[in-house]
């Protein structure tokens, strides 16, 4: 395998990881209440999860298409109407599953990485 390919694979793994985590974060952010993309970003930034806004839109569309999210339009004073997203019932179930998976994952990862050190 060439160096370039290795690099590409690392990049790919990172991207996959980031994407999975981001989806999880979006869902849990929305469990605190309905929000539109900019608000979601704000909440994530507060939690020091640095992302650019653009990343959000494809993810939101994807989650919406999977029927984990639904949205409604709301008028805005400073521009075009905004899409407010909310969790659907499936979304909430999915989120709970993800949370437990995440906990398990973090535990296992900690176990494995501690032993190494």
């Amino acid at each position: 395998m060439t160096i370039e390919n290795t690099k590409a694979n690392i990049e790919n793994t990172k991207a996959q990881m980031r994407k999975g985590v981001l989806e999880f974060c979006i869902l849990s952010t929305l469990s605190e209440g309905d929000a539109y993309p900019t608000e979601i970003i704000e909440r994530m930034k507060k939690a020091k999860l640095v992302v650019v806004e653009g990343t959000l839109y494809p993810l939101l569309t994807r989650l919406k298409n999977l029927e984990l999210l639904s949205y409604r339009w709301e008028e805005s004073t400073s521009g075009p109407p905004r899409k407010y997203y909310r969790l659907t019932e499936t979304g909430e179930r999915f989120l709970r599953e993800l949370e437990s998976t995440w906990d398990e994952l973090v535990n296992s990862v900690n176990e494995v990485t501690k032993k190494k050190k």
Partner: protein, 545 residues
């Protein structure tokens, strides 16, 4: 002072500076391309655009009405670079990281523009130089060389100048200078197109299989049905893209071949071609001005479609997207002018043939009471021998009996005169020469008939015909003809020598013999008509006319 553009994002109007507009446009296009195979691309783009509108709206106000490059940079920093936004599936992710910097993204490919900063005439050559990564001097040399190919070079240059847009904005100038389009890139692009097509076909097949079952279970699943339909669309748009490319090349090559053919044939027909042919074509027209109009109209009627073929071919190949309504309309107008000119030419030529006048004169026959008359044709090498002198003389004939031969380009000999042999009312031999011509009016036709000169000589009982007549200096060809009527009294004999064959025109005889069978024989005028008197071996028809 800066130029601004008015744009509409998500229903909100912005005034934006040109460079900022270019950047924003490029950004949106790039982002959009990242999602080309994604489900819900349009929705994502709508969301992104409406967010951009919101951000920009916050940054303009009564004191600052125009969106600047700075604002666009701010938007991009908030939304993220296309790389950060893109959310592709695993294999696409690898694919795009590997091939990102190459031509997989059509917007990153070099485009053809005219470089007016470094120009001699219109910047075509230096633009082409950038496109093909060549020093423009070579392209200029090439153009100068094909200039000598019947002026094809000039035409081609003008065409390119009209088709290729000028690199006006900075963005366009950058596009012009981008990564070279070399053979590797081209083959790569083609390969990618095919791969894309293959992938789409596979995806489509899988989707169809997958959702085929589901359709039965859930016929209301519109979204998934949609995705199968989109697979269809992608697949066929891929096929059409490749066919379109091939079509564009074919269009260009056929167009260029046609153009060269058209120019050379017109050129050679009017200048280097068979003299008699050229002469007779030009002499069909009332004057050289009409002739010029006819040539120009002919070139327009056949040339415009050919030029438009080349034009469309180049546009398709270099994917030039600028509006071409003006060129289309001017081409149509020129073509219609050509049609009008052709109609006018046809009318003016046919008008020259509207009246026919025939004049006649009696040949002063010496010793008209003789018993046997010998008919002979004076051999003229120009008329008879096809190979002899053929380097200098040009011939033109529809059939054996119709010939026009020019001798060294000066005099045109027309052949052959017609000879008819008919019974006479009295007891002396008589020969009448009819000269006829067409003209636009009777007067003109009469003048042309009079200008015809034709020579017959008599020596005792031997009559020698010239095999050709001339229509007079500076006369136009208006289907001039010479017909000769030989009136033969009863019991007189006419001998037709072998050379007479081409002059005889359906001479009635009792044997119903054809012209080639009538020569070298004696014919006697009887009550019923011409009778052969030395026709041993010639089949005599049972049913004489």
């Amino acid at each position: 002072m800066n130029k601004t553009v008015t744009i509409n994002i998500s229903g909100i109007i912005f005034h934006i500076e040109e460079d900022a507009y270019e950047k924003l446009g490029n950004y949106l296009r790039t982002v959009r391309n990242r999602f080309s195979e994604e489900d819900g691309r349009d929705e994502i783009m709508t969301d992104i655009e409406s967010r951009i509108a919101e951000i920009l709206n916050e940054r303009v106000g009564p004191s600052k009405q125009v969106v600047l490059l700075l604002d666009v940079d701010h938007v991009i920093s908030l939304m993220g670079e296309p790389d950060a936004i893109s959310d592709k599936e695993e294999k696409e992710e690898t694919k795009s990281t590997n091939e990102d910097s190459h031509s997989s993204n059509p917007n990153r490919r070099r485009r053809l523009y005219r470089d007016t900063d470094d120009r001699v005439i219109g910047g075509v050559c230096s633009g082409l130089g950038y496109y093909f990564d060549l020093d423009p001097i070579w392209i200029r040399l090439g153009f100068v060389l094909i200039l000598f190919a019947f002026g094809t070079g000039i035409l081609f240059y003008i065409l390119l100048m009209l088709i290729i847009p000028k690199a006006e904005t900075t963005a366009e100038k950058l596009e012009m200078r981008r990564e070279p389009v070399d053979l590797n890139n081209i083959s790569k692009t083609v390969k990618e197109e095919f791969d894309g097509l293959k992938k789409r076909a596979e995806d489509f097949g899988q989707e169809a299989k997958q959702y085929g079952k589901k359709w039965k279970d859930d016929s209301r699943d519109w979204r998934k049905r949609n995705s199968v339909r989109r697979g269809f669309e992608d697949f066929f748009s891929g096929i059409f893209h490749i066919i379109g490319r091939i079509f564009a090349f074919a269009l260009l090559i056929i167009g260029i071949l046609f153009l060269i053919g058209l120019l050379t044939s017109t050129f050679s027909l009017t200048n280097f071609g068979p003299r008699a042919f050229g002469d007779s074509i030009e002499s069909l027209f009332p004057g050289s001005f009409h002739y010029a109009i006819a040539i120009a109209s002919f070139l327009l009627v056949f040339g415009i479609p050919v030029v438009m073929m080349i034009y469309k071919g180049i546009r398709l190949i270099f994917r030039i997207k600028r509006s071409d309504t003006i060129i289309g309309i001017s081409a149509l107008v020129l073509w219609i002018i050509g049609i009008v000119g052709c109609t006018y030419s046809v009318v003016s030529v046919s008008k020259g043939f509207s009246e026919q006048v025939s004049i006649h004169e009696y040949f002063p026959m010496k010793n008209a009471k003789m018993d046997t008359l010998y008919l002979n044709v004076k051999i003229d090498h120009d008329m008879v021998n096809e190979d002899y002198h053929s380097k200098w003389n040009h011939r033109y004939h529809f059939e054996r009996r119709w010939k026009a031969v020019s001798v060294n380009g000066s005099e045109v000999k027309f052949g052959y005169p017609d000879l008819k042999i008919v019974p006479s009312d009295n007891d002396s031999l008589q020969m009448i020469i009819y000269s006829s011509s067409y003209g636009s009016e009777k007067r003109e036709a009469l003048d042309r008939s009079k200008a015809i000169s034709y020579l017959i000589q008599q020596k005792d009982s031997l009559i020698t015909f010239n095999s050709y007549f001339t229509i007079g200096a500076n006369q136009h060809w208006r289907a001039q003809r010479v017909r000769i009527e030989l009136h033969v009294p009863k019991n007189k004999v006419v001998f037709l020598s072998g050379t007479m064959r081409d002059m005889l025109n359906e001479v009635d005889n009792l044997s119903n013999a054809l012209e080639e069978d009538m020569v070298d024989r004696r014919w006697k005028m009887t009550d019923k008509g011409l009778e052969c008197i030395d026709c041993a071996g010639l089949e005599v028809s049972d049913n004489p006319k």
